[in-house]
């Protein structure tokens, strides 16, 4: 009788009970930025396909990507890309069983947050 009470078990408390912490916020931001990058990725595919199709199609796609809304999406995505990249590096470090102590994990968290903003600004300076 392994599961007489299937579906009616108490749940352990999570989101609603814990105070937000740097480690938990940086963790969920990794997921949000990674998945949100689908928007910019599909825009890039559309832009490339338009460039391969005709000058008129390119004008439409390029107009959308470089419009005010397009610039906003691409700039936010640039930050998301750097954030997700640095957070990924943090996971590659953690995969070795290193840096998992709370103080180190929080330092790495700040490095990801600050580093992503610095790298985004640097990229914008270089590519604009």
């Amino acid at each position: 009788m392994a599961d007489v009470n299937r579906g009616n078990r108490p749940l352990s408390p999570h989101l609603t009970i814990y105070r937000p912490q740097l480690t938990s916020i940086t963790s969920i931001l990794t997921r949000i930025t990674g998945n949100a990058l689908i928007v910019a990725s599909l825009l890039m595919v559309w832009w490339l396909l338009a460039a391969a199709t005709s000058e008129a199609a390119f004008a439409v796609a390029d107009g959308v990507v470089t419009s005010l809304l397009g610039d906003l999406v691409m700039t936010l995505s640039l930050w998301g890309l750097w954030y997700h990249t640095l957070a990924g590096v943090r996971h590659l470090i953690w995969d070795n069983g290193v840096g998992l102590e709370i103080e180190t994990a929080e330092k790495l968290g700040w490095a990801v947050v600050i580093g992503s903003v610095v790298l985004s600004v640097l990229t914008l300076i270089i590519i604009i």
Binding site: N35, S41, L42, V45, W47, L49, A51, A52, A59
Partner: protein, 123 residues
Amino acid sequence: MRFLTDRKRATGMGSAHKGTEHFWNMKLSSVALLLLIPFFLLTVIPMLGEPYADVTAHFARPFPALVAALTLVVGFVHFKDGCQVLIEDYVHGTAQKVTIILMTCLCYAAAATGVFAIARLAL
């Protein structure tokens, strides 16, 4: 349901034993992207908003074309694996399977479209 034995209820409900492979694939694609992303940001993104003739001439060169194609393919494979974990966490049952299938199809379609576009520009 109550007439089934515990053994019968448990069969087929466990791990598919693909967890390690999934973890390794994500690690592999993440390291590859770590190398590709800086090149992508420096050789592909600056072409946004440039004149049509310049863009087509740019991707006719091997390096920008290869960086763009590799980043898109590895990026969409990495997205497919990562998004699968997201779906597995928040969607359950048949809806989970349907969402994973649709998302996987979208990723391969987008990657193929990107490679086709770059090949057409490059050749």
